[in-house]
Amino acid sequence: MFQRMFLVLGLMISCGSVTAQWDSVVGEVATVPESDVHWFSVRGGTTAFLVDGDAGIVRGTLPLSRFSPAVAPHMAAGKIYSYGSFYSRDVYGDREDFVLIYDFTTASPIGEIALPAKSAGIGHSGMIGLIDEKFIGVWNITPAMSVSIANIESNEFVTEIATPGCAAVYPVSGGFLMPCGDGTIQYIGLSDAGEEIARARSETFFNVLEDPVYDYAVKAGNGWIFVSLEGLVFEVGVEGGSVVVSEPWSIKSTEGGVPDINGVMLPSDDEWRIGGRQPFAYSEATGLFMTVMKNKGGQELFEKPGTEVWAFNMNTKRRGYRIKMEGDETVSSVQLTPDDEPLLVMSTSEGLEIREARTGKELRTMDLDGNLIQNLH
């Protein structure tokens, strides 16, 4: 009987006015067009939205798991990686953990690499890292801390590296960096096979109880920029197997009466603190460094959204301009695209704001309230 029904439907179609001159009723599926340096990913819930920043349009979406913190783009291979965890009954039943592999052009899952079920299942872009375009590292907490290494050439899990007291995976050439609870940055070096072959720590350069650095960091050249909750900016890299930390500078002028680049005298920044989910961003090509700022409130509110975005010049270490949110709007994340004319992308309580980074001029907004913004290139 069901079969008959379909036949009837088929018959009806053949009586209709459907012709090739009209839109196809077969239904077509788009592909993601070629991307450029102004594209980025925005994770909202279990979806990664692939955004063309110049057009202000979502070009595709990736279905993540409910425990996927971020994506790890590998555009040279036309792939995007993520970490995922699935239960056979959504929130209960058998658990399976994977490195998830997506094809960029079709925005579709094309593979999985099984992982030990230990990953944090929460967090930001620091929780997963693409290392030397050969390995994916995923941070675990069980509550013992470790990093799972998967080889993306053979698509196999390689090893779990114990990293007690240290969190996240910030790739550098030959390995990755992690901030640690003892006030250091740890370097783990990997062999060609993905096994640990080196381990080093920086000097202790922050006090976790007095002024810890964010566990979030942003790429700067061959290293990473870490920022403390009180606004000290550190550049960290690896030289000759050692972890080197730069002298910090402060985003806050606590003395008052300091002129900005236009000569305008600034008030003291005493009451201001950096905050947010992605509280800072750096553009190496232009030296722009952006921070999310909020007035008043203790250090423990470091993950709370801010009311302003401050733009610094990393070379002069001086503030260039401030963007003030209007009304009750707050901003939780900032990102800068990696090119010469970078876009400033902000996740606010109203959605996404895209600005010209050099000037702060607003270009467009998008009704998209994902909170983790990652460059694709």
Binding site: G10, C15, S17, T19, S24, G60
Partner: protein, 194 residues
């Protein structure tokens, strides 16, 4: 009946919702004849093409009843990202344009259901009615935005050709709802339709 209201609210307000599939829509809006008979089999003849599922039949492309010029000749005005756009008169769901698709193409990685519902919408620019095929795209998490709820002509689910509340992903490998297309597939006023 409708989890749709709930869903649309989601689509607008909450990208974090994972209710992806828990909803589906699609309202036909054409004929006043159909769906009769003891076993409720869809009944229709020439000149009464209604409201019904358009089966994916690549080879079923017969001559039109009255000559038409095709989509290239249809004059359209308005913003296709706006729910008020003329093609969406019976669309209740998310616009595929918001997640990588268009009015005629499913977003990358999603699947077009093998059956779609057809509505009839009035194009104010040329004053004619057109048949609109509302194909669902499925198999992904929620499109996350651009939810529209124009369910004029909505009927209960036992009258599926006009029901808003049916999850219409048949033929896709997943019935997780992603978004809906709005294809112009013919003249509505040359088919014996009101």
């Amino acid at each position: 009946m409708s989890q749709r209201e709930e869903q649309i609210k989601q689509l607008f307000k909450d990208l974090d919702a994972k209710t992806t599939g828990a909803l589906r829509f699609l309202a036909g809006r054409t004929s006043r004849r159909s769906f009769l008979g003891r076993f409720g089999v869809f009944i229709a003849g020439m000149g009464a093409l209604p409201v019904l599922p358009v089966l994916r039949e690549a080879h079923a492309q017969p001559a039109p009843r009255t000559p038409v010029n095709g989509i290239a000749d249809v004059q359209e005005m308005g913003d296709p990202m706006n729910c008020d756009y003329w093609r969406y008169c019976a669309l209740s769901g998310a616009l595929c344009s918001c997640c990588g698709g268009s009015m005629t193409q499913c977003p990358p990685g999603s699947q077009t259901a093998t059956v779609a519902w057809v509505g009839s919408c009035h194009n104010p620019t040329d004053g004619r009615d057109y048949l609109i095929s509302y194909n669902d795209c499925c198999g992904k998490t929620s499109c996350g935005g651009c939810g529209c709820s124009r369910a004029e002509g909505d009927k209960p689910v036992y009258f599926p050709s006009k029901s808003n509340s049916i999850l219409w992903c048949f033929g896709s490998t997943s019935h997780a709802y992603h978004c809906t297309l709005a294809l112009v597939i013919g003249h509505g006023d040359s088919n014996g339709l009101e």
